[in-house]
Amino acid sequence: MPSTSKAGLRLAMRHVILIVVSFLMIYPILWMFFASFKPDDQIFSTSNLFPTTWTFAHYIDGITGKSGTNFGPMFLHSLEISVVVVIGSLFSSALTGFAFGRLEFTARRFLFGFMLATMMLPAQVVLIPQYIIFHRLSLINTFVPLMLPSFLGTTPFFIYLMVQFVRGIPKDLDEAAAIDGCSTYRLFVSVILPLTRPALITIAIFAFYWTWNDFFSQTIYLNNPNLFTVPIGLNMFMDNMGNSQWGDLFAMSIVSVIPVLIIFIFFQRYLVEGIATQGLKG
């Protein structure tokens, strides 16, 4: 039996390595998670991962605004912006993806090529003019600059994903629909759109996740504290807080990643497929 035991040993080694790697990878998250339940004087004084006494005060203080920054409304703002961006992204990518993937029109190839080229365009290159446009329209300190672009299909990844998906739907369906006297609009709404559900779910997940985590554009467009979102609030709180408020900061940081964790747990398949097949950034 020497070969079997050798194989068993190698399997055990593999598990040991994987356990160590996994633990190292999630250690920072675990540390912050448990620190958020420690009384303030225990956070930095002990190298013990687990709290000796548990407290929920940091969570209550953060959400109710006792710590000086009221995170409650910020979560609502982040949620509102993210949900609207999801709707906008679904709207624009479904329409554009269908047109690029199924319809023939003048300059289609050129426009599609342009769309692909913008996938590599750094956001900062267009952010300055966009800021100026929204500034001229007096829309700074509103959610419009954060929401509107999604309705106009400014995330080429989503459109590309949709085009790929629409192209994969058998053409026989279109022809059958055409013979039945189905208009292009009916073809889109009744035939194509229901079949693109997996792509739509992937787009919704990434639109929500990217917007929820977005900091750059939110910090540019929002400087009224009444409109702050979670990322801005966290950063501001960290800059202004006293030394005894680390617990509150960790508690709110943990709450801020919960929506991402929920997506991860329930939609892992779509996330992984989006990354593996489209190269969407995780």
């Binding site: 023939e104 900062q124 990322p231």
Partner: protein, 309 residues
């Protein structure tokens, strides 16, 4: 039109309805395209041209833009902070991208074998890449490397007196490189998908021919994965040039501008001092740098990317 017409030749009735559909489609296609076309005109293509124009003005958001020729670029040439930001960003890209890809490739190979609990291992290893770019995770990372943080307390268990990570120019950038390395999960997922595509007969044939595991890895696995390595290298390079949130939260450019990343400098010029013209010039140069680097990666790909299969 090609495919619908091609099939339509089979029967006249279908041909007529298909041609009618095609001409109708041309009109209705633009209805479907309207949102995207508006976005392209005003927010993408229009904005790019606007950026190019602004780069040659002194626009400050308050007074109307005045054309000043190449003055912004001349100033940039003499701006020590500009050169610092270029240097810092290049160091970061050149160090962090290979580390990330190597880690992703190594761990992908490790979790490719279906053993018990592999799904959980993969999920835990992948999780940081989902959180890594957020403010919340950056805050965690910052405290992890705090002078009294858990990294230093673990080091002190081994009798090592940990450095003031974020107070020293060299260690500050190391902290940011490590944060990037921590997020290798999305590249790992892409590599995993690639590993599954490698036909098993290749490895089986090589084993019969007496090739060792290491030989198979370097002669079969790596060449077969090279298009995916290329993709990850390209995307990783582009996104590393644009790193912002982590830097802003963790170091805000300090200490002594040692982590003044390019996009952070662009942000300071554009959105803290409202030097819109100057920031636009920075944006134009960023675009050129990224285009050149992508072009360079494409050029070298001829020598190491295998497109045979």
């Amino acid at each position: 039109m090609g495919i619908s017409m091609g099939n339509a030749l089979k029967s006249n009735a279908v041909a007529r309805s298909a041609t009618r559909l095609a001409s109708k489609k041309n009109k209705s296609a633009y209805v479907f395209m309207t949102p995207w076309l508006l976005g392209m005109l005003f927010l993408t293509a229009g904005s790019m041209l606007f950026t190019l124009y602004l780069a040659f003005t002194n626009y400050d958001l308050l007074t109307p833009p005045k054309f000043i020729g190449a003055e912004n670029f001349r100033q940039l040439w003499q701006d020590p902070n500009f050169w610092t930001s270029i240097r810092v960003t290049f160091i970061y890209v050149v160090v962090s991208v290979p580390i990330r890809l190597a880690a992703a490739l190594l761990v992908a190979t490790l979790v490719n074998k279906p053993i018990r609990g592999i799904g959980i291992y993969r999920a835990l290893i992948y999780l940081p890449s989902l959180l890594g770019g957020s403010v919340g995770a950056s805050i965690g990372w910052r405290t992890l490397f705090d002078q009294n943080g858990p990294i230093n307390s673990v080091l002190s268990l081994f009798g090592i007196h940990g450095p003031v990570w974020l107070g020293n120019p060299v260690t500050a950038i190391i902290v940011l490189v490590l944060l990037s390395a921590w997020q290798f999960g999305s590249e790992m997922v892409i590599f995993l998908a690639g590993l599954k595509q490698i036909p098993s007969y290749l490895n089986e044939a090589a084993t019969i021919d007496g090739a060792s595991g290491v030989q198979r890895y370097f002669r079969i696995t790596l060449p077969m994965l090279s298009p995916i390595i290329f993709f990850n290298l390209l995307m990783g390079t582009i996104s590393s040039f644009m790193v912002f949130t982590q830097v802003y939260v963790i170091t805000d450019g300090g200490p002594m501008n040692s982590t003044l990343f390019y996009v952070l400098y662009l942000y300071q010029q554009g959105f803290q001092y409202f030097h819109m013209g100057y920031a636009a010039a920075l944006a134009v140069i960023l675009l050129i740098i990224i285009a050149l680097c992508s072009g360079f990666i494409f050029l070298t790909s001829r020598f190491w990317v295998n497109y045979d299969v």
